[in-house]
């Protein structure tokens, strides 16, 4: 049974990753650079001409497959984590070449290249607070391992706490299938006097008051987002949103992920983290078949070596 829930965590993350609007932007990285330049020019055109007809990623003279619904950065980084989980972490990161990744990871790779070792590689880092490690921690939680050494390569503070919380929640969900216990396990590792600990409790309260996941979206926006900063991948926002929405949906993936995808600023990763948690609660078999079919094949938009890899096959022998 727990094998099904481990697969549920991985595929649930990939489904959530595919459901958020930024997935198509990441997958468009597989297109020629000039096609994305045209996208940027169309954005400027819309601005200049005051037309509300906004451009979407498009394939002009390019293969259309990357723009079909499918997983992007988070699913690839999770797969890479599962494949390298037995390796010393700094060593595994150092071998990465020509990858696309969050600011925390790219800066950590620079730090490692300069001889700045973990935990300084994740600490001397402007995006130490982002959720790159929280995404990777889904693998650690599913396999019942400590995510800390991995998290400290790229993150610090709330970024590491987010990884601890995700690993704890996923481990509990894989063990019991109960979302309530999973949320409690996450809260137990999030001190109240940290931003992520404060926000997690605030988000759960807001979502409980709203009563259901979709109904909680505006309340979560009001409680978690100050709309001041330029990037929406802060662990102190995305992990609390995932905990609150998974719980509000009773651990059911469809309701939880759909709601998370509606939090536009967080849509790069909150749906993925939400999907991982709900997927671990309900298991692989409970995920809608159409979504599984669309989300299980990796595109290679961040880690080119993983292009075409099947997440379920990749888990054979691991889960």
């Amino acid at each position: 049974m727990s094998g099904d829930r481990i697969r549920g965590a991985f595929i649930g993350l990939a489904v959530g990753d595919a459901a958020g609007w930024p997935a198509a932007r990441h997958r468009a990285a597989l297109h020629a650079p000039w096609s994305r330049r045209l996208h940027r020019e169309l954005d400027a055109f819309a601005e200049e001409h005051r037309v509300t007809t906004l451009p979407v990623p498009f394939a002009l003279n390019q293969p259309v497959a990357p723009l079909r619904t499918g997983p992007s950065d988070d699913a690839e980084w999770l797969a890479w984590t599962a494949l390298t989980i037995d390796r010393p972490r700094a060593e595994a990161f150092r071998e990465l070449q020509d990858v696309r990744a969050r600011i925390s990871v790219v800066t950590a790779l620079d730090n490692l290249a300069e001889g700045v070792e973990p935990p300084a590689s994740g600490h001397d880092n402007p995006h130490h607070f982002d959720d790159a490690a929280a995404v990777r921690a889904v693998a650690y939680g599913a396999l019942g391992r400590d995510p800390t050494p991995d998290a400290q390569v790229t993150n610090a503070g709330d970024g590491v706490l987010g990884a601890l919380a995700m690993a704890a929640a996923i481990a509990q969900a894989v063990a019991t299938g109960e979302v309530g216990g999973a949320v409690e396990a996450a809260l137990a590792v999030l001190p109240e006097d940290t931003a992520i600990g404060h926000n997690a409790r605030l988000a759960l309260k807001a979502a409980r008051k709203a009563g259901d996941a979709f109904g909680a979206v505006p309340a979560l926006d009001a409680a978690l987002l100050d709309h001041v900063y330029s990037y929406g991948v802060g662990a102190a926002q995305t992990v609390p949103a995932a905990l609150a929405l998974a719980e509000a949906a009773g651990g059911e993936l469809s309701g939880a992920v759909a709601a998370a995808a509606c939090l536009a600023p967080l849509a790069d990763s909150a749906p993925a983290l939400t999907g991982a948690l709900a997927g671990a609660c309900g298991g692989y078999e409970a995920i809608p078949e159409g979504w599984t079919a669309s989300a299980r094949t990796l595109a290679g938009c961040c880690l080119p070596d993983l292009a075409g890899r099947d997440l379920i096959e990749l888990l054979e022998g691991i889960a």
Binding site: I103, V106, T107, D110, V116, A120, H123, D124, N125, P126, H127, F129, G157, D193, T194, A195, H198, N199, D226, H227, V228, Y229, S230, Y231, G234, A236
Partner: protein, 325 residues
């Protein structure tokens, strides 16, 4: 013998001059700065948020003295800053508006500085000088006091950046040599911090000695390699700005014009780097150390970033701070 009042005036005048000189160079590359100006030595326009927030910090110190607490600072934000933020908050960085949003939600410090993503902003470092002026020769007390301010709007390395600058100014107010000023900054932050690692790396790049003219472009490049984060679009990182500013102070051997113009030539958050280098050098050399042609360009602040300080002149603020010393 330079009096404390003279050093206080030099410090805040140096801060305002560095801020104004660096403003047009903010976010430009060193190459672009060289292309436009060669060496940028003449103030073109007014100062920015650095000067106005420093004036605001000084006013809190004059009111509360060494008893200043984070709660006092939060109260000052609520009563003197927030009421005038009815539309755009001009000249503010992420950390200031993030803090105001947190205060509007009813949060108290330190959560107000923790819940936004820009805890490491150099917003505290840019306004830390008055705390050093207030604690001449006592870097530890200057660092303790500036942290009260920082707990409202910053966290982690942002607070450490403020501590380092306040401590450096306190040491300069006490007449320390440039290398000892930098050591005082380091004494105020943990050795195991981004700020300490960057300050050491930057000063090691200079061999802890003044720049002697030759191959300046290469030194600029080496300093960038030592501390600049390459893959991040924002430049207001305290560990970076503080390290570059203290390196500039060291490079200029504590002399105001040399320190500030070299600091501004580094680009990145050039106005804040100029303001910090100017404040530390000004405290070292006193009012007469600030070029008179720069001093002539510094008038009362306009309040374009903080309406509550409109009309205040940094020299009057310095006199008020010095009165209690």
């Amino acid at each position: 013998m330079t009096s404390l009042r003279d050093r206080a005036r030099g410090c805040l005048l140096g801060l305002a001059a560095g801020d104004a000189l660096g403003a047009p160079a903010e976010n430009l590359t060193p190459e672009e700065i060289r292309r436009r100006w060669g060496r940028l030595t003449e103030i073109e326009g007014g100062g920015t948020d650095d000067t106005e927030y420093a004036v605001f910090a000084a006013s809190m110190l004059v009111r509360h003295g060494h008893a200043l607490s984070a709660a006092d600072v939060a109260d000052a934000y609520r009563t003197e800053i927030i009421p005038s933020v009815t539309g755009p908050m001009r000249g503010a960085g992420f950390s200031e508006l993030g803090t105001i949003e947190a205060l509007r939600r009813g949060l108290q410090p330190p959560l107000t500085g923790l819940v936004h993503a820009h805890g490491w902003s150099d917003g505290l470092a840019m306004r830390a000088a008055p705390y050093g002026v207030f604690c001449p020769g006592d870097p530890a007390e200057a660092a303790r006091l500036v942290e009260q301010d920082g707990l409202v709007s910053g966290s982690g390395e942002g607070i450490l950046g403020g501590r380092a600058v306040a401590a450096a100014v306190a040491a300069a107010m006490g007449g320390a040599t440039p290398p000892d000023v930098v050591r005082a900054a380091l004494s105020a932050v943990p050795a195991d911090s981004w700020t300490a690692r960057n300050v050491v790396r930057a000063c090691d790049t200079l061999g802890w000695s003044p720049l002697t003219g030759a191959a300046e472009d290469e030194v600029v490049e080496a300093l960038h390699r030592a501390v600049v984060v390459r893959h991040y679009p924002w430049t207001d990182l305290a560990p970076e700005a503080v390290a570059l500013a203290l390196a500039a102070f060291l490079a200029g051997d504590g002399e105001v014009e040399a320190s500030v113009t070299f600091g501004v030539s580094l680009g990145r958050d050039a106005d804040t780097i100029g303001a910090i280098a100017g404040a530390v050098a000004g405290a070292s050399r006193g009012e007469r150390g600030v070029p008179s042609r720069w001093a002539a360009r510094i008038g009362p602040v306009t309040g374009k970033c903080l309406p509550v300080v409109a009309g205040r002149h940094v020299l009057d603020v310095a006199d008020e701070l010095a009165e209690g010393l």
